[in-house]
């Protein structure tokens, strides 16, 4: 009981909020965070597309190991890792159940595992790339790839809104809890309690969206005044905005290193296929 209450004190809604914010606002000083954002995006696309061109399990295992190490290097939040692990484990669990249920053999199991590995590599790569990236860098990288400015602005504005939305959401859930009535008798496996809270979590979305929508009226006007519309039609402004993106020596090293590692993984796959 003591243990449970301590667990409750450390891992609560506030903790989740903090972890999410940490993930979103990145660690600018981490290994991946210091790289040119365009490079990281390119890296992400290459690493997450490669698995789909092969069935060689050695290569897949190698890629899995590689992306995992990269995500550890960029110090991803334990919350995100836990969520991912839960996802992967439950996926494995259901594969085993499925295979046993239909009396399948190793071949069926193996091909399903291959598929799971591909998905997992993609998700770990995205965590490694985006969790360490500063929202501003991400949005500027998108802009430099020729994505419309409205979209790249929306990305960075989304990050700006994230803490506001989280706060608002938390307050509204509180409103529901303070005035509502939780079931006294939880029922079998506390299903009534779980149902009650699930309902609140969904219902709280509507007031949150309405409150936020109301606030954006000023934002739209201020965008006009601060020359955002003007900058959309001005090439000089765009150039100025992207002037800080430069490929440096450490970026070259990163390219070489990644290339080398991928080469090793593919070589291993060729000579030692599982």
């Amino acid at each position: 009981m003591e243990f449970v209450s301590r667990l409750k004190k450390t891992y609560n809604l506030e903790w989740i909020k903090l972890e999410l914010l940490k993930t979103a606002f990145g660690k600018k000083d981490s290994y991946m965070g210091r790289k040119d954002p365009r490079l990281i995006i390119a890296w992400y696309f290459i690493v997450s597309l490669l698995p789909w061109f092969t069935f060689n399990q050695t290569i897949l295992a190698g890629l899995l190991l590689y992306t995992t190490v990269m995500s550890l290097v960029s110090r991803v939040s334990p919350l995100i890792i836990t969520l991912l692990t839960i996802g992967v484990i439950s996926e494995l669990f259901y594969i085993i159940v499925l295979v046993l249920l239909f009396g399948g053999e190793w071949a069926a199991f193996s091909s399903l595992i291959t598929f799971t590995m591909k998905i997992t590599i993609m998700s770990i790569a995205s965590i490694a790339a985006f969790a360490s990236m500063d929202p501003e860098k991400l949005s500027d990288a998108l802009l430099s790839f020729g994505v419309p400015p409205q979209f790249s602005f929306a990305v960075s504005y989304g990050y700006r809104m994230l803490p506001i939305l989280l706060d608002e959401y938390q307050q509204i859930i509180l409103s529901f809890r303070l005035r509502g009535k939780a079931p006294c008798n939880g029922g079998f496996f506390k299903w009534r309690t779980i149902y009650y809270y699930s309902k609140i979590v969904v219902k709280a979305f509507y007031p949150m969206m309405l409150n936020t929508a109301k606030k954006t009226r000023t934002t739209v006007e201020a965008l006009e005044v601060k020359g955002f519309t003007y900058s959309l039609h001005n090439k000089e402004a765009k150039k100025l905005k992207l002037s800080h993106l430069k490929v440096s020596a450490q970026d070259h090293r990163f390219i070489l290193l990644s290339f080398g590692i991928l080469l090793v993984i593919y070589a291993a796959g060729k000579y030692y296929p599982l």
Partner: protein
Amino acid sequence: MSEPIITIEQVSFKYPGGSEWVLQDSSLTVNKGEFLAIIGGNGSGKSTLCKTINGLIPHYYTGDFEGSVLVNGINTYESTVSVLSQKVGYVYQDFENQLMRPTVFEDVAFAPLNFGEPNFKEKAEWALNVLGLTNIKDKSIWQLSGGQKHLTAIAGVLALNPEILIIDEPVAQLDPHHAKEIYEKLKVLQQNHGKTIIVIEHHTEFIADFCSDVALLDQGGVLWKHDVKAGLQRIDDLLVRQISPPQVTQAAVSAHNPSSNELPITIHEAADYFRKYKRNDAGKEKHVPPLNEKTEELVRLEHVSHYAKSLKNKKHVILDDIHLSIRERERIALVGTNGAGKSTLMKSLAGIIKPSEGTGQIGPFELEKTSLEKLSQVVAYVFQNPEEMFIEDSISKDLSFFADSRKLKMEEFLQQLVTSFRLEKVIDKDGRLISGGQQRRSALAIGLAIQPSLLMLDEPTASLDVKSRQEMVKTLHQASNQVKSVLIATHDMQLVAEWASRVIVMDKGKIIYDGLPVDMFAKDYICDLAGLIPPQIVQLSNQLKLDPVALSISDFMNHVEMEESYGVR
């Protein structure tokens, strides 16, 4: 000095789709280097008038526009918003929504960057430097305090180095201490950097202390513009439009000092004006209502401490060994600067936060063992932002939410609430679509609808105009009769003076004062420590060395008279 920079001539404006003229034949001239306050009742067209200056009207809001506006020689009708916004900076009342980049520096550099200024970084650095924000330039916006956010919003428009700055209600959402800081910074911009500053304001005390001129708007027209001294003395004009003149001016009007023919508008002038006045009951025993010791104890906290972790995993002390007892029939004001721990204390009482250490008792419940859902039957907590209280699509559904979820029959009681809080007109509307004053009253009624023993409110009078504020204070007095005790966290010292029976001052997680308001205001060091700025009339009493201090104008008038006449009556 006196060359005009803004000339508004015979301007009328109707919003697109609107049926009424919001501005009607408004004319106003603003000179270079002026610090102008624009005052007027709700709906008098203050914000609309200011938006004609930066071109949002008629270019962004394309309604019916007549007349002409000249800004620095440019006719706004023939210019564009992007050209004008480099001459005129505009800071909104809900300035938080004006900040749209993740960090302070990015936000301040945003406008010069958009306008393609090659030296946008230097411009942003300059603006940050002028406003003293350089040390927080790498912080995320969401980590800032309210005052810092407001300064960032100002820096964001200042970075374009405009000649004119317009600030809509700079102090509405700030505590008095931060509000004063903002005004001091604006004064620097006006005096050292030659900016022309226009504020929309209804706190006349600030106008008297900082502005040079004042313009009164009424029903879409500019009634008059005078220098501050002359303007604020026309108190009949102000009172008719629900603007309250500085407290000292009001006191002086009723005092009729025969030896002075000018009314004071600042504390400094008032101290001179009332120099010969003293308290007629000085030395007599204070008419202090005895603390009601006989009533039952409602809340008891012992050794309550709370810690929180920051983003960098540092441990912060938020509540530091709090002892507190609240009895029935108390009206308590909880004051202190932002971050002093007021909200955390209230959240602990509501069960939203479980304190890290300590024990507590609220009514029949033990604090550390009772869930938030159970506690909320005896404690009501009204949030600072009333919109977060509206979880249904009409006020009537929000009022009955508590009763409905418990299948209670409370129609009669709820009807009574609606009548006494004057909510008949808004009962079927969505809470988000009604005025600020109505929102606050509705939120309070929603809190009372759970029939709590202890009612807690967070900043119930913040950002209300004078009329709504007066109504709110009246409503709070009514609310005190419906519950056993009320606890209000507030920066509004006038509310403390007029309403509270007991005041608790917090600083850095500790309670540093707990007692009668009248005693607290007399202790300068407490006020300084907790960043409190007492109401003008209290400051004046302190300057005149009155004992006990007067808490309201009527108190001041009843007990203070001229020395010569003392003892004659």
